[in-house]
Symmetry: C2
Subunit: 474 residues, 2 copies
């Protein structure tokens, strides 16, 4: 007896070399696992279920994996766009005004946004993760989380943009301790739905000593290191000033370039550095929308995938992207890379869909659990309604147009059902696990107060967005 | 007595140099016109209305303008992606299989997609426009339409890609006649909601003689010419082979570079050519999503807007983009241009929103009717629900984050109400004017038959997408 039998759908398994379509397919779920995937008529003959879902004119596929998010700063959405030096001039003036409550309240809305758009696994990277992780538990998302670890004081004094950051080992140890507590408290909890990584913020923001301690801990806990690498000329400048080396050669030298590393962004990595990273077995996480807005850069994913399929996509954060929606990431990844290569054939839709599912699962080290529909894997399944005008029509022959339309037309709002670990989390577009309206209301309230507190932070700021506001453009 | 009073909203008027926000604003509509725009409390005191719409936590703004669409080929959505030479190798093998019914049926779904995502004005460019325009009448969209005019035979013989197209003046006259009939039958009909343009497909697809005849007709009807210009190296190769000149110098020489011209794409236009066009008073229509997918190119909009604000955005067509959604176009326009310039400050959100509203209205010649909220303009108004997790929170100070989030986060599905010419066309996300489910069903049926007919068209095709299908990737 199955718990859920989804039948009559176009099933995209993501097994095999392409997308693995079963035209009239079924997926059977028992407890938190996929029990059967196959032809709809055959499966319907062989199995009974407690609940049946008719997926005619719908697409059944693995839940999407968002490999890099900062849900804790969601409440800053839209406050730091169209600026140069985004982190120092755009984000930081506001981040320092955030309360713990702001982090938690914003995070919940952000996770709701993601899951309703079909994201079932969130690699969430933030400070206060010991609290934020409870939002993932409440919503029911699969989460692979870490705590932001850096050695940077909250108040960095009267620095000029570009000055070497002061690194403080006391702060580093305190933040690392929070990451260790996260591991101790949450790793492999909630039926294995929550797993923990180590989160050094970047090679420029922790000392070599701290990074080596983190490396040792990753081995001890047999987990991975989730780190921003070569994130903008800002980081490279810090590295060259401090160590006389760029980020990737430095990481290689201290023994951190290996399969345990999830390297995020690589905005400033050269082709040679990117390929050195790919060869090492490390993964790349590509945040196309975010880096496009923040830096005006298309990271070197094309160089990476020549040598490795451990490439995952991430939506990054609301004050940068400004959405956390993997359909958005897929379309941007395809088009930005086509424009970078000046070749519309590169990054075809089937490959990009793999980057949000099976390649991503491999990149983050969950390839045995999620990323494709296969007997024995965790039941993370979404159903996308193709009766939506933006996805009409479905054509199966002579060209199957479903995956091009998923990647190039779907917006996330067509996702009808989201099942995570066998549990129906979104049903007919309604989130079942937490009260969405209450979450939105709380975030609106928190933002109102934040706005008031941030007035002082912005006074005298000569940032492009503050100028646009002052000059009446916004 | 107003017909509709929208109150309590954040009103984005698009008047003035920026976006013209009224924080607690109201918009009053009487018949098909905007009667009042102002402070919500003041307007509520001064006016009564038949219908009140509370827009608390919502944004009230001008309907979006899609300046370039081909709704008639919507049924081919997703059949020609990830290919080089998109038009000849991607689109044409399928276009020739379309029946008149396919054009009409696909078009209706496409218009529904657009209007539900907040598009109120559609510049629709297609063959069979005399029939397609009836869909705009039925849905209730404002439409500025033209008929595709070219001199190209349906069967172009055993040509090799790149051969000079055969031009046939008999065919040209027949198609021009259809455009003239469209003008005679529909120009300024439906309370002025439908207006007609002339639609030579491109300078490479009509002879100089026919183009001069079209120019004369545009003056006679006092209307504009909607034409693809410098659309890919395909067109430039044709122009150089036939006339020894590139498109824009050619158009200037024969006297077609002036205020009557809406020049679409400019994919292959140089900076010098683009600026020559801008100086002439002609408009540029930028289709960021479509040209990114089709060509891997970011057109020279940055060069154009240095000299002119007559730049409009267009979603182009479903087999290219693959969606017709102006929120998609706004985000792609901003990010692709930031990446092209390698500068995140260019194409800021407020400017991009202008490109989908007031700048667009100016570009297509409807600046006195639409594109901003102002007493006396046509009542084309949309309401966007900011209670959506992807648009939360609203912050008004110290930085107003609404427009960045409209441009960088909204997906179109947050549009709650669409009013066109004073008529509520979409109410609480439900389309009131035509039966959406029936339209979707009809398009699905038509596509099934198209797929069967197209099998022969695809046999032996050595296109990238046909190869992906044959090799089991799709």
């Amino acid at each position: 007896m199955l718990d859920i039998l989804i039948y009559n759908g176009t099933v995209i398994t993501m097994e095999g070399k392409g997308v693995g379509v079963i035209e009239n397919g079924a997926v059977g779920i028992k407890e938190n696992l996929i029990e059967v995937v196959g032809d709809s008529d055959e499966v319907a003959k062989a199995y009974k279920a407690h609940r049946y879902i008719d997926a005619a004119s719908k697409v059944v596929m693995p839940g999407l994996i968002d490999a890099h998010m900062h849900t804790g700063i969601a409440i800053l959405r839209g406050l730091s766009q169209d600026t140069d030096n985004w982190m120092e001039k755009g984000l930081w003036p506001f981040v320092k005004e955030l309360t713990l409550e702001d982090h938690i309240t914003g995070s919940l809305v952000n996770i709701i946004e993601a899951v309703k758009a079909g994201t079932t696994t969130c690699c969430d990277y933030d400070s206060h993760m010991g609290e934020i992780v409870k939002n993932h538990v409440a919503v029911g998302t699969r989460a692979r989380v870490c705590e932001t670890v850096n050695e940077m004081p909250d108040e960095m004094g009267n620095r000029t943009v570009g000055d070497l950051y002061p690194l403080d080992p006391v702060i580093g140890q305190k933040k690392l301790q929070a990451n260790i507590e996260l591991l101790e408290d949450w790793h492999e909890k909630e039926n294995g739905r929550i797993t923990c990584l180590l989160g050094p913020q970047g090679p420029d923001m922790v000392s070599a000593e701290l990074l080596l301690e983190i490396k040792r801990l990753a081995e001890q806990y047999d987990t991975k290191i989730h780190m921003h690498v070569a994130q903008g000329d800002r980081e490279i400048n810090q590295m060259v000033k401090r160590y006389g080396k760029r980020s990737i050669p430095y990481l290689e030298e201290i023994g951190c370039l290996n399969e345990r590393l999830l390297a995020v962004h690589l905005t400033e990595a050269t082709r040679e550095e990117t390929q050195r990273l790919a060869k090492s077995g490390a993964s790349m996480i590509l945040c196309s929308g975010s880096i496009g807005i923040i830096d005006g850069i298309v990271p070197p994913a094309a160089d990476f995938i020549e040598l490795s399929d451990k490439l995952a996509l991430g939506s990054d954060q609301a004050p940068g992207n400004n959405c956390n929606n993997m359909f958005n990431e897929m379309k941007f990844t395809a088009i930005l890379n086509k424009c970078k290569a000046k070749d519309p054939r590169v990054f075809p839709s089937w490959k990009v869909l793999r980057m949000a599912t099976i390649d991503s699962a491999r990149a983050i080290g969950l390839e045995n659990e999620v990323g494709s529909l296969k007997k024995g894997k965790k039941a993370d399944v979404i159903i996308v309604d193709f009766n939506n005008p933006s996805l009409v029509p479905i054509i199966q022959e002579p060209i199957r147009n479903i995956v091009p339309n998923l990647v190039y037309s779907a917006k996330g709002s067509e996702v009808e059902t989201v099942i995570i670990d066998g549990r129906v989390v979104v049903d007919n577009k309604i989130l079942l696990t937490v009260d969405e309206k209450e979450a939105v209301k709380a975030a609106q309230m928190a933002a109102k107060n934040l706005g008031k507190r941030a007035i002082d932070a912005v006074v005298g700021l000569e940032t492009p967005i503050a100028n646009m506001m002052a000059e009446g453009y916004l």
